[in-house]
Symmetry: C2
Subunit: 408 residues, 2 copies
Amino acid sequence: MRVFIAGMDGYLGWSLALYMTQRGHEVGGTDSYFRRNWVAEMGSQSATPICRMTERLQAFRENFGANLKYVRGDMTDYNFVLNFFRSFQPDAVIHLAEMPSAPYSMVDVHHANFTHTNNLLGTLNILHAMRDACPEAHLVKLGTMGEYGTPQIDIPEGFFEIEYRGRKDRLPFPRQAGSWYHQTKVHDSNNIMMACRIWGLRSTDIMQGVVFGTRIREMGEDERLLSRFDFDQCFGTAINRYCAQAAVGMPLTPYGKGNQLRGFLPLRDSMQCLGLITENPPPLGEYRVVNQFEEVYNLTELAFKVQRVGARLGLNVVVRHVENPRFEMEEHYYNPEHQILLDLGYEPTHDIEAEIEIALRDLLRYRSRVEARAHALTPDIRWDGTRREVNYLDEVSWMVPLAVGAGR
Amino acid sequence: MRVFIAGMDGYLGWSLALYMTQRGHEVGGTDSYFRRNWVAEMGSQSATPICRMTERLQAFRENFGANLKYVRGDMTDYNFVLNFFRSFQPDAVIHLAEMPSAPYSMVDVHHANFTHTNNLLGTLNILHAMRDACPEAHLVKLGTMGEYGTPQIDIPEGFFEIEYRGRKDRLPFPRQAGSWYHQTKVHDSNNIMMACRIWGLRSTDIMQGVVFGTRIREMGEDERLLSRFDFDQCFGTAINRYCAQAAVGMPLTPYGKGNQLRGFLPLRDSMQCLGLITENPPPLGEYRVVNQFEEVYNLTELAFKVQRVGARLGLNVVVRHVENPRFEMEEHYYNPEHQILLDLGYEPTHDIEAEIEIALRDLLRYRSRVEARAHALTPDIRWDGTRREVNYLDEVSWMVPLAVGAGR
């Protein structure tokens, strides 16, 4: 298949270019390098020493004996998107080119507005360009489990059949996102659903859980093939941030009570799922939603897992809860379905501690890069619009589990 | 109350400035005159001879003995919005400043993108500026009944209690909009709901039906106080377009089978509802949704109503169905609830034919202005992205009701 990847310089995008090539696909793609700038804006850098795209492409050539059809460009530029699709004629368009951070979108009105224009216009351009250049291609769109929020009922995969006042219908499951970033993903979902209905496009909209880990098999031993790994308050996600904290001897910091539940999956599982989805497109006109994660975990439990793995590597890891800079439920019901990917053949890794160990070993190797930007680990972007560093919540009940955890 | 109106030069905005002043409120507002440009882009003009804002403000002064606090500006300019709110300190922010046309948003990718940035950034700016300048003000936001689409079940007002797999929750009712314009209203609704939840703002999100009519009592006999009245394929809504067609002797043209059902309300009812909502704000932190329309009508029935009223005025009005340029269900279940406004004291006009007669008499007076732009009445913007004028559907069954209608 000819696979187009928007956002090829990113955490998932670069890994996926390697993964899909290894599976025999012809891969093209683009990036605007915005992610590198956003992370710099946060005073941070990738923990892994990623090289420039020209060097990445060279390393790719040397390792895979093939070229990536890569062109630098911005998905919010319609003519760029249309011309790329016209010449590349993709069978699948994998859209990973959005601004992916909740806190970054909450900095101020300008960041909120930028997140909206960047994410929505990129997706609108893709939909229009697919309609006009490759209407049979399959749009594989990265959404987030965060689109659903935390309702008091089970979360199906995108749609549910309900009875209301004596009549039945199959309807989109209501979304209740908790940040401007998450909202843009909801808006995209609504837009893509409509484009499938009125233009007969096909799409899989992926409600992905939180991805973690430093590597996939296809990166081998060539450091130049490593993907980026962010740990700052905006672009570092929970487990990755914990691993970076453990590597530099900082406490792991669950937000608030830390009983928030979220779906997680290792980077290698994300690649496996994206591959399966791409290779198994829905029929034309179908808007398919999949919930993509390996398992649901509690954010504090995860910190203890990192602590345990750290202890095995000789690290003395402390868990300390901090004020929650976000506005979110810290205790809630959470039961999302995730069957479609299993039906497509997804084999979950299920050994989260082994993944954490690989990541921790990598991060210990690059410890100085994290140390140099360690201040970026402490959140100060709050959902109320202020910017004040969070404080430790020393007085609360976590002291008991911490003591237990620390002793392991 | 101090009432801020975004979009004060528009069809609803100008009428509302008069109406709210008459009710004793201090009215401020803004406009960017985009609507005048969009209608010109469609090769059309307002049927009513609206004057420039400076003349409007002069006429307002002469008739009401007061000044409107009006400043020209663009709601997508954050500093403009913030500074206006800081100096005016509104009790209510009535947001009517969005691009309001489904066909205009469907012209091409650039119109789709413009609709998204104009509508979403305007609303995001308002939410942030309210948070920072007037957090207790009430956001009265104009949405549309079109956000819901046409589900197979009853449509409640914004939220519904459901049971799913043995658990219950109160959730936002799923939206299934049918154009980019309608989608932007859905996106706004999601964004406003979140801002109320995380920032404690209060808002009423109005799912309004299709408004029609040329005047409200407050315009009196001063022609300079008339609001705009559009009849082109983009900015003219169903009944208004029918009235313009009847006035210039063109056939009334329901789209497709014409059995689409929609909620409608006269301009005077829209003003009454907006006034009631503004004067009865929800508590801080509440996101309230109201469905605002007088009654549900079938689009072909409405054409026959206009035909009947036209006959009373001596007009020979023909109804001819045309190809449907939109992608929509032409036969469907439709049962939206609309109780909240009635509970607030809304007294529906219920005499739609009297309203149509007033509009027709006004339009006959301005017939030459419609005749000069009559070509703008024939749609060519299609939901499939092409632009070809629709054809009459002469062969279908409407011939029988037409004959009946024409004989009345």
